[in-house]
């Protein structure tokens, strides 16, 4: 258990009659990028808040970096980007970072602050007051705060929700750098394409309960043949991946002109929609 970045067993949360989370059990290994998916109201943010001690679980237990949740030391090496937040608009971005550096007792704070701001592309605007920031820039600042001090695990709750396509691409690149660095990433996101590209494993929750968990490949399933574009349009062929060259050779041999070949495969979005729309 101690080797894992995060272990949860039977976590549950009830708000009066509403069951926000039911029997959530998870294990995320160190260095893993873990996607936590689900529709609005599925219990994703509640789960993250429980893991960070912001919400008390009604049942179950969990550890983060080997320490029980609720223990402040469990949060010493963790970073968190909340889904909805606004930093004090009268502070500059660097002052926000300095505040968090003190709270997290980050060593060599100036260097760490510059590194985190640079990582999200805000270093040049570090002296500006937060009130002058766009929504996307505030989200970048939130990311910088989460990454401050090189945490071992980062919880990112919808990190790209306020970003434009360039920002989203930047965050994807950032997530890939974190993975390469060995940082454990716990990613809540609605953007399934993003999760599909950067996460090793995913867990889908719906109405407070886990409905699927595994690697992206395992969830999506294997190849279901190929689509081939000929002069008269697209054609589908059920062939195993290793038989594709022979299929193309046969088509060409029969006089067809092959313009494109692509695998027929469910996307994570297809699988996700099937899971959360099932009764």
């Amino acid at each position: 258990m101690n080797g894992a970045a995060l272990v949860a067993r039977g976590l549950a949360k009830r708000y009066g009659r509403v069951e926000a989370l039911r029997d959530l059990s998870l294990r995320v290994e160190r260095g893993e990028s873990f996607g936590f998916l689900g529709p609005n109201g599925a219990g994703k943010s509640t789960a993250v808040k429980i893991l960070l001690g912001l919400v008390a679980a009604s049942a179950g237990e969990a550890t983060v970096l080997g320490r029980p949740i609720g223990d402040p030391a469990a949060r010493a090496r963790a970073g968190y980007l909340p889904e909805l937040f606004r930093y004090p608009d009268w502070l500059t971005a660097r002052e926000v970072m300095r505040l968090h550096a003190r709270l997290a007792r980050v060593r060599d704070a100036s260097r760490a602050i510059d590194a985190a701001l640079d990582e999200v592309g805000l270093l040049a605007r570090a002296g500006d007051r937060v009130r002058a920031y766009s929504k996307g820039m505030q989200q970048r600042l939130g990311l910088a705060v989460a990454l401050l001090g090189d945490p071992e695990i980062v919880f990112l709750d919808e990190p790209t929700s306020a970003l434009d396509p360039v920002g989203r691409s930047d965050v994807r690149a950032l997530l890939e750098r974190l993975r390469a660095r060995g940082t454990t990433v716990f990613l809540n996101s609605h953007l399934l394409g993003e999760v599909e590209r950067v996460c090793d494993r995913v867990c889908v929750v719906d109405r407070g309960a886990v409905v699927a968990e595994g690697t992206v490949d395992a969830l999506v399933g294997g190849s279901r043949g190929v689509r081939v574009r000929l002069d008269d349009g697209w054609h589908e062929f059920d062939v195993a991946p290793d038989r594709v060259p022979e299929l193309v050779a046969r088509l060409v041999g029969e006089g067809a002109r092959v313009h494109a070949v692509e695998p027929r495969q469910d996307t994570l979005e297809d699988r996700f929609l099937a899971l959360v729309r099932s009764p």
Partner: protein, 288 residues
């Protein structure tokens, strides 16, 4: 350490958001207006003859008490309007989520907000009080008997109201917490008058109701301590005479026969500790 970081943030917020500057400008206006008025009083004549020095001093002493009451209301309102939002706004805008995801305890956040708020208000009491009494002395030569004790009592009023506002703000929106704390301050003040009327009329129920209001929210006893500390000997003697005619009665909030007894001060201190602790417990149990 974390507590001091949060306290410094609270104090810096007051400075940065121009609240301190606005309070400073308005206080300066009051001080200058007082100086102008007292200067006119000191040089005024009645039927061609200047007002006697004892009359100027007695009038000035009364004005000082009214000014002190004005400032007690300002610091009480300030305590409610600073203390409540200091905690509640960071919860409402989600800022607290990233802060509490750090290795900090919720008690440290509440304590830091409390220290920052109370320290800022105590500084305001000291600076505004010194400026006001300074112009009083310059214009009329009058110095109240125990100004530092009065400042300490006014800081106590601020502490009681700020503690209530902060404790309430761990559960309520900032504005609601500030309004409730201000209403409690007003209720305690009226309770003090009701108690005095009850004692004066020999009506135990009225007197008890006033006493209970004063115990539930002990700001009025602290205000009376400030008023007593600012009263010259003649005022104290007059208050004692009226009190003797109606044993135990405090004639009004501006004429006080005795300072609050040590037991009442101990109650106010204990009340502050208990309400502060209740705020921490409420915040620790809150889902964010």
């Amino acid at each position: 350490m974390t507590t001091l970081v949060v306290a410094a943030l609270t104090a810096r917020e007051l400075a940065r958001r121009r609240l301190a500057a606005a309070a400073g400008v308005l206080t300066l206006a009051i001080v200058l207006f007082t100086a102008w008025g007292l200067q006119r009083l000191a040089t005024a004549t009645v039927e061609g003859a200047p007002i006697t020095e004892p009359a100027v001093r007695a009038t000035t002493a009364g004005i000082v008490l009214l000014l002190a009451f004005l400032f007690s209301f300002v610091v009480a309102l300030g305590a409610a309007l600073i203390g409540g939002p200091a905690v509640a706004e960071s919860i409402a805008n989600g800022e607290i989520l990233a802060v509490l995801a750090r290795p900090v305890r919720r008690a440290e956040i509440v304590a830091g907000r409390w220290i920052g708020t109370v320290a800022a208000l105590a500084l305001y009491v000291a600076l505004a009080g010194a400026a006001e009494l300074g112009v009083v002395r310059l214009t009329t030569g009058y110095v109240p008997p125990e100004p530092l004790t009065a400042f300490a009592y006014l800081a106590g009023v601020a502490t009681v109201v700020a503690t209530a506002a902060i404790a309430l703000a761990t559960r309520l929106p900032g504005t609601a917490a500030a309004i409730v704390a201000t209403l409690l301050f007003g209720l305690a003040w009226i309770g003090g008058i009701v108690e005095a009327i009850g004692v004066g009329l020999g009506n135990d129920r009225l007197a008890d109701a006033g006493t209970v209001a004063g115990l539930v929210f002990p700001s009025d006893a602290l205000w009376r301590g400030a008023a007593y500390a600012l009263q010259p000997a003649a005022f104290r003697a007059a208050a004692a005479t009226i009190g003797a005619a109606s044993p135990g009665a405090q004639p009004n909030p501006f004429l006080v026969a005795t300072p609050p007894p040590p037991a009442m001060l101990a109650w106010a201190a204990g009340w502050t500790v208990v309400v502060f602790a209740a705020g921490i417990v409420a915040f620790r149990r809150r889902d964010l």
